[in-house]
């Protein structure tokens, strides 16, 4: 409990830090809210005065009434103005804070270690940046407009009521907490129902995700009826769970309204009885009418606050999740005088490198490798053997646990990330394209490329012919994750991207897995010209590629188990030899 409270306090402190920048809006908002509430409460008093001047036929003090009505008009105008001011300030503050939080979160995403991103689902991180921030904003906005004004209203009303009449105030104060109790009682009772509802809803979403997401297979197997059946079963359960949750939670409003009515009746009876027994000097009709409108105003914030408290707690929970992301450890900073790699000669050495993703599962241990300039290194092994681990280390997406990797004689931890990564041209198996035009995607590595250079690169990677057939050629917009291109076309674009900037070293991760062999050969020729004199690391399946490599790294279960060239490895008659035989067996 203690730690939870402490954590909440911490979160609040962090929220306050974001608010601090907008303290002027906050101060204005508080002042405006206080004025609004005070004037809103003052208005019924004026109404009461006016009513007391309207007694009966012939007994109406028009001069007095006019005086009061003028006052009322001024009060109304000022109230509206401060109300508006308060809304504007709250909006400004909230949305700007949301912007700041999102920017901070995104900035963090850009410098998070890959380890974090690989171990969290994208959906989860995205939902923190989008949904959680939204929830937090809603809670913040509601908290400010309702919680704050609610509290002031309660205090203000109490003060005004006491100043008008102590006895009747007592009635209001005694009955009101009842609505609070009722509301929290219902909230507690409905919690399990809501839980069941959200669980069932989750189940349904997962099912929809699976079936609609793989609709083509469902249709190919004529599985629609079975899918419908399962869907209806879940849907039915969700229906009854939702009905319960929605119905029981919707009892809050009528119940608290009922309590309001009790307060109203209580005020009416005691007020009227007191007026009769003690006379109009104790409480006048005008004062009674003023009390009645207070009775409405006084209970309303109570109901709202009970809602706001859960909302605020929710908002804090969301805020905590966002801060967790924002405060996540960033990748290790570059040393101050980090070396900027230039004129890279293509030598890469790995000295006593050890690495594992989790300490419990050792992967690469004491690995040594010396790559000379212009050598070709093939990484082979069965699927899932951790071939990409090597890429992760070379590109410094992950840092080695022990040992060192040096490029051109510099430890890669002592050079700038930018210059290290810029020295490699990387084509991954998972093709990734940015939303934008084909051109924008190609020039990623060389933003100032001329059209001629772009076309030349595209021709070299054999992407030109399909690009020019697209509706807008190089300016065709690629939809989300390249949905309008085939896998092979996407891969060609990724290759073009590298062809354009021609870095001194290459990393190709099954770069041609989705490309047909004929095109692949052409690309490989392009690669071959590209690789001439360039050190290249290739994750490869095809034996022809592997055979020509200067060094072959054979991986199994995350570890590098054999190392050598084709002939020496065959002579070893180990895992590689086995793999080779099996692939060429008919």
């Amino acid at each position: 409990m203690e730690s939870k409270g402490g954590k909440q306090a911490q979160t609040i402190r962090k929220v306050l830090r974001y608010i601090r920048k907008y303290w002027l809006y906050l101060a204005l908002s508080i002042v405006a809210a206080s004025v609004t509430v005070a004037l809103t409460l003052y208005l019924p008093i004026l109404t009461g005065y006016a009513i007391d001047l309207i007694i009966e036929q012939g007994l109406v003090d028009f001069a007095g009434i006019m005086e009061i009505l003028k006052k009322m008009a001024v009060v109304i105008l000022i109230t509206a103005l401060t109300q508006w001011l308060m809304n504007i300030c709250n909006n400004k503050m909230t949305y700007n804070i949301v912007k700041d939080v999102r920017n901070d979160a995104f900035r963090k995403i850009e410098i998070l270690p890959l380890k974090y991103i690989d171990s969290h689902s994208y959906g989860e991180i995205v939902s923190r940046v989008i949904a959680d921030v939204d929830q937090f904003a809603d809670g913040l906005l509601m908290g400010f407009t309702q919680f704050f004004t609610g509290v002031i209203t309660i205090i203000g009303t109490l003060g005004f009521m006491l100043s008008v009449n102590v006895g009747i105030t007592g009635v209001v104060v005694l009955i009101t907490p009842l609505s609070f109790l009722v509301a929290s009682f219902i909230a507690k009772k409905t919690f399990t129902m809501f839980k069941l509802q959200s669980e069932t809803r989750g189940e349904q979403t997962a099912f929809i995700d699976e079936m609609i997401g793989n609709q083509k297979i469902v249709q190919a197997f004529s599985h629609e009826d079975e899918a419908m059946e399962t869907f209806d079963e879940i849907n039915g359960r969700l229906e009854s769970a939702s009905l319960k949750a929605i119905f029981f939670s919707s009892l809050t409003n009528p119940s608290t309204r009922f309590v309001n009515n009790l307060v109203y009746a209580g005020v009416a009876i005691t007020g009227a009885v007191l007026a009769i027994t003690r006379g109009a000097s104790y409480i006048s009709v005008g004062q009674l009418s003023c009390f009645l409108s207070y009775a409405n105003q006084y209970t309303k914030p109570f109901n709202e606050i009970s809602g706001v408290v859960t909302e605020l707690q929710n908002a804090l929970a969301c805020a905590a999740r966002i801060f967790e992301l924002i405060e996540e450890d960033a990748q290790i900073d570059e040393p101050e005088n980090a070396y900027v790699l230039h004129d890279v000669d293509g030598t890469v050495t790995l000295e006593n490198v050890s690495f594992s993703y989790v300490p419990e599962k050792k992967l690469i241990q004491n690995f040594n490798l010396a790559v000379k300039s212009g050598q070709r290194i093939a990484i082979v092994g069965p699927t899932g053997c951790g071939k990409t681990t090597v890429i992760n280390l070379l590109m410094r997406f992950y840092d080695v646990d022990a040992g060192a990797i040096c490029v051109s004689g510099h430890d890669i931890r002592e050079v700038t990330r930018k210059s290290l990564r810029g020295s490699y041209g990387m084509v991954l198996q998972e093709t990734w394209l940015k939303t934008g035009t084909i051109r924008e995607n190609i020039i990623m590595g060389k933003p100032d490329a001329t059209d001629e250079e772009i076309v030349a690169a595209a021709k070299a990677s054999h992407a030109h012919s399909f690009i020019k057939r697209l509706p807008n050629g190089y300016d065709t917009v690629i939809t989300e994750e390249g949905g309008n291109l085939s896998q092979g076309q996407k891969q060609l674009l990724c290759i073009t991207r590298v062809m354009l900037c021609l870095p001194p070293m290459l990393i190709l991760d099954e770069a041609t897995s989705s490309i047909d062999t004929r095109t692949e050969i052409k690309i490989q020729q392009a690669f071959a010209t590209m690789m001439k004199g360039r050190t290249s690391f290739i994750v490869a399946h095809r034996l022809s590629t592997i055979r020509e490599a200067d060094i072959i790294l054979v991986m199994k279960d995350g570890n590098i188990i054999e190392q050598g060239n084709h002939e020496t490895l065959l002579a070893m008659n180990g895992f590689y030899a086995n793999l080779y035989q099996s692939q060429f067996a008919k």
């Binding site: 208005l43 109404t47 006016a50 009513i51 009966e56 012939g58 009505l69 009322m72 008009a73 105008l77 109230t79 509206a80 103005l81 809304n87 912007k99 920017n103 995104f106 994208y122 991180i125 995205v126 989008i130 939204d134 699976e210 079936m211 609609i212 793989n214 609709q215 083509k216 469902v218 190919a220 197997f221 869907f231 849907n235 039915g236 929605i246 009892l251 009528p254 309204r257 009515n261 009790l262 009746a265 009416a268 009876i269 009227a272 009674l288 009418s289 409108s293 699927t383 590109m395 990330r417 990564r421 940015k434 590595g445 994750e481 085939s486 092979g488 076309q489 990724c494 991207r497 062999t517």
Partner: protein, 597 residues
């Protein structure tokens, strides 16, 4: 939205009763100021404590009745809303399932999933709110006006002016902000898109050190969103102050008019209090209405999106079951003997004709400019194995997708057993064809559940046989629970090769007449691939079923033993024949083959 209302049809009673009870509740609320007026005029005016107490009891009673009505209304509203959304989801699910591949490609699965989940929830919420509050608020507003008329005609005229003025303001602001909220949503989608993109492309972005540019892009979109939000916020921030002014200025006028009317003896002091009370009731309801409008706006936008889903109909028409026979019945051979004859004739036809024929088939995808397949023409005999090979984008997948009629040929015809695929019913056709797609997808559930996709009543024996054929038996047996081993969503707990073999088993267990393997052995090593092909070739032998097999592959070795090899290049057939023939005369095939040696 309008068309979605049919889903409320089964909840007519609830849909009517919920607002009705809400109105009843509102009615009782409207009596309260009248009772108060009586308390002031009769109770206090004539110092009658007994009357005051009686009226107090009436107030409590009104509250109680209001509570009962309200709870009843909430129940009906919840029931109608929940039932509505269940029905809506059912229909939407069924509708989405009925769409053909063309529409699915166009919509994208993520859109369909959002429509089915969050959009439907928003609409459900909207329906619930509308039933509960949307009628109540206007009712109280107009009710207050009517009650004012019962008190005093002249004073009530102030209500007549105030209410339309308020409506104009509230609805005016709503009309202005509604499209703006849509823009805000689009802005949010944009921010979401960039965030997602930066996660999926983290390696590439960092490899090209684009972090800084991405950050700038994000901050721009984010600022745009904030700007939009503030703009909308400014407009909707006007609602409360403006309504406040209108209602309270009306109250001021009301008090003055009341004073004049009391002075001339038309109404009493208590009645003035009642009139003022009615005016403040209007204000309270308006605040509620304004909040409600936001919910409804959102719900309406979602409802429209859902409706546009429904408006999208399948571009493919299917014959009813047994269409071939129906055709015959329509032609007059309605006696059962006739049908029997036709059935036999049909079966004979099936045996004598080709298993699959492509007659000058061309295919242009919807919205695409160029043909993806042009003038494909070849015939396949029963029991043959057909290899299809060609470059990326050469149309291999498009070609086999025409066989189970995932898409319709734009020109020419595809025939199975001598009958155009368009003349089969969906069940008939998909029953004949077993398809293994490129992407190996399995579903949550046991291995057994997944295999039963192929054949709902498959026995263990049949399943084991299918696993044997697909070379999956060994690894399934090695699982602790065998066939009952649980597969996580998307088959995450299996390797790519294992998934592929299970998807093949799923199609094989169906014992289809035509089996299509669309590059579905790519994750298998050459040895397993060879074994798989061998067992598929032989699978028909032990149960006397003749299976025609299509193998799409990038590997020449996978198809070189096929009875016929179709070599595709840029959507055209550039070679057709056996391996040896093609090696001699097909340049493209030669190139592919030798590149892989």
């Amino acid at each position: 939205m309008k068309k979605l209302l049919v889903f409320l049809k089964d909840y007519k009673k609830e849909t009517v009763l919920a607002p009705l009870f809400k109105m009843l509740e509102a009615c009782f609320e409207l009596f309260v100021p009248l009772v108060m007026a009586a308390v002031i005029d009769k109770g206090i005016g004539q110092s009658d404590i007994g009357y005051v107490l009686k009226m107090g009891l009436v107030l409590v009673l009104l509250g109680l009745i209001g509570l009962t009505c309200s709870i009843t209304a909430q129940y009906f509203a919840a029931k109608a809303a929940v039932g509505f959304s269940a029905k809506l989801k059912h229909s939407l699910f069924a509708h989405l399932q009925s769409l053909s591949f063309t529409e699915m490609d166009e919509l994208g699965t993520s859109t369909m999933i959002t429509r089915m989940t969050s959009d439907v929830n928003q609409v459900q919420n909207g329906v619930n709110m509308v039933l509960r509050l949307f009628l109540r608020s206007p009712f109280i507003v107009f009710g207050a006006m009517v009650m004012a008329f019962t008190i005093d005609f002249k004073a009530a005229l102030i209500f007549v002016i105030t209410i339309p003025l308020l409506s104009v303001v509230v609805f005016g602001i709503m009309m202005i902000t509604m499209p703006l909220y849509k823009k805000v949503q689009a802005g949010l989608d944009n921010v979401l898109g960039i965030t997602r993109e930066n996660l999926t492309g983290v390696r590439v972005i960092r490899a090209f050190h684009k972090e800084e540019e991405e950050r700038v892009e994000f901050e721009q979109s984010n600022s745009q969103l904030t700007h939009m939000q503030l703009f909308v916020g400014k407009i909707s921030a006007l609602t409360n102050p403006v309504t406040y002014i209108i209602v309270n200025v009306s109250t001021v006028i009301l008090i003055y008019t009341g004073a004049v009317r009391v002075d001339t003896g038309y109404i009493t002091q208590g009645e003035v209090v009642a009139l003022v009370n009615y005016m403040s009731q209007i204000l309270i309801e308006l605040v509620k209405l304004a909040n409600l409008i936001i919910t409804i706006t959102k719900a309406l936008a979602c409802a429209n999106r859902i409706q546009s889903m429904f408006e999208l109909s399948s571009s493919m028409e299917w014959k009813n079951s047994d269409s071939y026979l129906n055709e015959a019945v329509r032609n007059g051979d309605s006696d059962s003997k006739g049908i029997e004859e036709i059935k036999t004739k049909f079966n004979n036809d099936a045996l004598t004709s080709y298993a699959v024929e492509f007659n000058n088939v061309s295919l242009t995808y919807h919205g695409a400019g160029d043909e993806s397949l042009s003038d494909i023409d070849f015939k396949v005999k029963h029991g043959e194995t057909i290899g299809i090979i060609g470059g990326t984008g050469s149309g291999k997948t498009s070609l086999v997708h025409l066989i189970p009629r995932f898409y319709d040929a734009t020109k020419g015809s595809v025939k199975i057993d001598g009958q155009d695929v368009k003349d089969y019913s969906m069940e008939e056709l998909r029953d004949k064809v077993g398809m293994v797609m490129q992407k190996a997808v399995l579903f949550q559930g046991t291995i057994r559940d997944n295999l039963r996709w192929g054949k709902a009543d498959a026995t263990n024996e049949e399943m084991n046989r299918a696993l044997e054929i697909s070379q999956a038996k060994e690894f399934v047996d090695s699982k602790p629970k065998g066939l009952d081993e649980y597969i996580a969503q998307g088959g995450k707990n299996l390797s790519g090769g294992q998934r592929q073999r299970l998807t093949i088993a799923r199609a094989v267990v169906k014992q289809p007449e035509i089996l299509i393997l669309d590059d579905s052995a790519s994750a298998l090593d050459y040895a397993t691939d060879a074994k798989l092909r061998k067992s598929i070739r032989e699978m028909g032998k032990d149960n006397n079923k003749i299976t025609t097999v299509f193998i799409v592959s990038q590997r020449a070795s996978s198809i070189q033993h096929a009875d016929q090899i179709v070599v595709l290049d840029d959507g055209k057939v550039v070679g057709l024949g056996k391996h040896e023939e093609l090696l001699e005369r097909c340049e493209v095939y030669k190139e592919i083959y030798y590149s892989q040696m």
